[in-house]
């Protein structure tokens, strides 16, 4: 028998967490002499108050979905892939090489090719730590962290060397051919008579991320491979008893994880910047860890968590603009508090609530 009804588990607990987080964040804002209600107002307005705001929110959410899904699949195999940042960066190289190689006639052809490029490069970057974990027992947390630094350095090296655009002063590649341009929300919605901001970078990759979430759900709960990954993640010893190969599961789960992280580059590199720029991941790979934690490693939860984090990111930028007294660091504090309450302090709310439900059930019977 479950301790709580499902709706309480999925909706009530996160909601109370959020309220608590905003309450404490409000206290912090109050302490620096600002109005906490203004803070909440500007954050929400900034994230959802205009099609531009929504466009940016969903654009960030797309990144967080890819990164969160990448962390989640590894979690299910009881591995902590902290290397999403680096895998996404290397995925960007894959996307760039594919898109610069051919003068693509149309995005419908360029996109599948770019997905393959990004996924393979991301997976390859994850494959090395995966192999070291499976065969040599080197802890995946340590190796993936180190691979983030290598990836960042490699990206910087390439963008100052052979990939550098001769037309630019900056560490960036040549622009992609116009045929590789992904439709933006503005372009997709305009023929339908819906006016959407031209400036927002939201593009078709958002749908790709949603599709990946569905695909991951199917993989985990409908296929043999997903069954084996989950069995291995829950109980490694039992998995061995059942004849499930630890090496195989470890490596495959990490390859999928790396591929998902690599696809993040589709959104940023192909969808928004249309060229490769050093440091383009901008920490989204790390945010993915919090997204996966908050979404309880369930694809549906991750989509919701990614939307929330998208709102936080976009709302945070707006807050900086609207309330100059709130610094960049303060925005980080607010975001961190939300992560703290929703992820790390989850049991603080969950356990008393479970007891409450049990008591209520007892009182009824």
């Amino acid at each position: 028998m479950d301790k709580m009804p499902r709706w309480a588990d999925i909706i009530l607990v996160p909601f109370i967490n959020l309220v608590l987080a905003f309450f404490v964040a409000g206290l912090v804002v109050l302490a620096i002499g600002q109005n906490p209600f203004d803070m909440i107002y500007f954050m929400i307005k900034g994230a959802l108050g205009s099609t531009s705001g929504i466009g940016f929110t969903l654009y960030y959410a797309t990144n967080y979905m890819f990164a969160g899904l990448a962390v989640a699949i590894a979690f299910h195999a009881r591995m902590f892939n902290i290397g999403g940042e680096g895998q996404a960066g290397i995925g960007g190289i894959g996307v760039t090489l594919v898109l610069l190689a051919v003068d693509w006639p149309h995005w419908t052809i360029a996109l599948p090719a770019a997905i393959i490029g990004g996924a393979i490069f991301g997976a390859a970057w994850a494959a090395i730590p995966a192999y070291l974990q499976a065969k040599r027992g080197s802890h995946i947390v340590v190796t993936t962290i180190m691979f983030n630094f290598i990836a960042a350095a490699l990206l910087g090296y390439l963008l100052n060397g052979i990939l550098k655009s001769p037309l630019s002063q900056n560490a960036e590649s040549l622009g992609f051919p116009p045929g590789a341009h992904l439709p933006t929300a503005h372009e997709v919605l305009a023929p339908l008579g819906i006016a959407f901001s031209k400036s927002a970078p939201l593009n078709i990759s958002f749908l790709l991320a949603l599709f990946c979430a569905w695909g991951l759900w199917m993989l985990l709960w409908r296929t043999r491979l997903g069954y084996e990954i989950r069995a291995f993640g829950h109980n490694e010893k039992a998995a061995t008893y059942a004849g499930i190969s630890a090496v195989r599961v470890t490596i495959i789960a990490m390859l999928i994880s790396g591929a998902l992280a690599g696809m993040l580059a589709i959104n940023v590199v192909m969808g928004e910047q249309e060229r490769l720029i050093a440091g383009f991941v901008e920490g989204a790979g790390f945010v993915g860890i919090a997204v996966a934690l908050m979404g309880r490693s369930h694809p549906f939860g991750i989509v919701l968590a990614a939307l929330l984090f998208g709102m936080l990111t976009q709302g945070g930028f707006e807050l900086l603009w609207e309330m100059p007294a709130i610094s960049k660091e303060m925005v980080l504090v607010i975001q961190a508090l939300i992560i703290l309450f929703t992820g790390a302090l989850d049991n603080m709310v969950r356990e008393p609530l479970e007891r409450l439900f049990i008591r209520m059930r007892k009182a009824q019977s």
């Binding site: 301790k3 296929t223 069995a231 829950h234 039992a238 004849g243 049990i358």
Partner: protein, 523 residues
């Protein structure tokens, strides 16, 4: 330790321990319901009950691990609060846990003194402890070398150290939780001699066990617990094992296994000179040879940790070995790609592992996910090349749950929410229903309640009667003796000898388990 009864504790005629109306709930589960018992000074009092009956909770309350929701504790007639184990020790209560709480790389002396030092410097305490230990050893047959390291001691000796620890802290009341679970029969006999000596000195002993024979052997009074309630307390001399079993389960129970003589066929499993080296390079199985034929149950007896687990792991396909094993005359791989669990299952070997919670089941998986565990590649469970047919699996689960009387019969319930007996039935249903040529069974009834034991034994015998070969590993001698058609005893990685269950007894097997073969001389 001059005089076990320290000054300050009243010497009255009051019971040594009296519990009045103890209740304890964990969330919705009422682990103890209004429990009252009274144990006379100098008595050996047994507490029996099935798993989850609330015995351990009750003792944890007495030792200060849990706080009761309601009720009172009287020690020697005085109302006593026991908020933590320090208070329990101060009240004269000593506890010997099922899993010892010893520090392996400390000496016996250091373990005894630990937590009961007289001051910041150790020397004085150690000298005093050495003297006490010597006198205790003489008094109660509790002899252990005070300078030996715990890791070098046998399990039986380690248990004596636990008892010494309690006595050194001047315990008047000794609680032992399943003390014989890890002992050979000879060690258990020695333990009981110690307990009788302690009793003669006026100590009060509470013995928690599920073994009816021990209760009959040593206790003066016995309390039966069922589902958190104290069902009855009776004088041991006025009861019988059948009567106790019935009180525990709430219905009549068949204690012995009802089986026909075996119809033995061809050799199914043949093991020749099998050697197993574990992860840390220790040889655990040292060249054993065995045969199991169709229609028979070969029971492997032995104290746990003598290589039986490794034998099962090799046969089950998750440990490498050297030597040779044939199944129905054909060799099976002992290392490499075709030696994993999948290959074994494909060859018709089913395996009910020793530890269902860490091996046989994924506790967070639902029953229907567990019922295909290891067989999830089976074509019957696939919808197409990509997807599993979850609906078909659930239907299959429902049928198997009904046939094996798994309660509650809900395929969507997580394995961890079933009782031990029902978890074991899920594993058995999965393995037996595959109709294997060879069934490996490890500790089939460990932590399983008496009612389910009866059912599980019947299922195993039924499979035997269908002409299948069964290899049974159990540390419960009674189980081996009643189920097996042939008994092999393992000791230190060797087979010490084989016996016909009809022509042997516990003493003979006990000696083999301790490494002595009277028919061939010592090993």
């Amino acid at each position: 330790m001059d005089g076990a009864n320290t000054a300050g504790r009243p010497e009255t005629g009051a019971p040594a321990i009296e519990l009045v109306g103890i209740s304890k709930a964990f969330g919705p589960v009422q682990a103890n319901k209004d429990i009252s018992i009274s144990v006379e000074r100098g008595a050996v009092h047994g507490i029996i009950g099935e798993n989850g009956a609330g015995k351990s909770t009750l003792m944890s309350i007495l030792y200060g691990f849990y706080k009761a929701d309601a009720g009172e504790i009287y020690i020697s007639g005085q109302k006593t609060e026991i908020p933590d184990s320090q208070a329990a020790i101060a009240a004269g209560i000593g506890m010997v846990f099922q899993h010892f709480k010893l520090i392996d790389n400390f000496s016996v002396l250091e373990n005894v003194v630990l937590g009961a030092e007289d001051g910041p410097m150790l020397k004085g305490s150690l000298v005093k402890a050495r003297k006490t230990l010597t006198s205790l050893a003489e008094e109660y047959e509790l002899d252990v070398d005070p300078d030996a390291l715990i890791e070098d001691l046998s399990v039986g000796h380690q248990q004596r150290v636990e008892i010494l620890k309690a006595l050194y802290r001047q315990a008047d009341i000794l609680i032992l939780d399943e003390p014989t679970g890890v002992l050979t029969p000879a060690e258990a006999d020695h333990l009981f001699r110690i307990l009788r000596n302690l009793k003669a000195e006026g100590k009060t002993i509470i013995l928690i066990t599920h073994k009816l024979r021990e209760i009959m052997d040593i206790t003066d009074t016995v309390s039966v617990m069922r589902r958190g309630e104290m069902m009855s307390t009776v004088k041991t001399s006025e009861t019988s094992p059948e009567d106790l079993a019935e009180r525990m389960v709430g219905r009549k129970v068949l204690l012995s296994v009802d089986k026909k003589p075996p119809t033995i066929g061809d050799t199914v499993l043949k093991i020749d000179n099998l050697r197993v080296v574990d992860d840390v390079g220790v040889e655990r199985v040292k060249g054993i040879s065995l045969e199991v034929r169709a229609g028979e149950i070969l029971g492997i007896a032995g104290v746990s940790g003598n290589g039986q687990s490794q034998l099962l792991s090799v046969l089950g396909g998750y440990m490498n070995a050297t030597g040779s094993i044939t199944l129905n005359g054909q060799a099976i791989d002992l290392s490499g790609k075709n030696s994993d669990g999948q290959s074994r299952r494909a060859r018709g070997i089913a395996h009910v592992p020793e530890d269902r919670q860490s091996e046989g089941l994924v506790m967070d998986f639902m029953a229907w996910e567990n019922i295909v565990f290891g067989y999830h590649h089976d074509l019957a469970y696939q919808k197409n090349r990509l997807l599993m047919d979850n609906a078909a699996i659930r239907a299959d689960t429902e049928a198997k749950m009904e046939r094996f009387d798994v309660r509650p019969p809900h395929p969507r319930l997580q394995a961890k929410n079933f009782s031990g007996g029902n978890q074991q039935k899920i594993v058995l249903a999965r393995e037996i229903e595959r109709n294997p040529d060879l069934l490996l069974v490890g500790q089939p009834t460990r932590g399983v309640d008496i009612g389910a034991i009866e059912f599980i034994h019947q299922q195993i015998v039924e499979l035997r009667d269908q002409g299948k070969a069964i290899l049974l590993v159990s540390v419960e001698l009674e189980e081996i003796m009643s189920l097996a058609d042939r008994i092999a005893v393992m000791f230190d990685g060797h087979i010490m000898g084989e016996r016909d269950p009809a022509k042997t007894d516990e003493r003979d097997l006990g000696l083999l388990m301790a490494g002595v073969n009277e028919q061939q001389g010592a090993a």
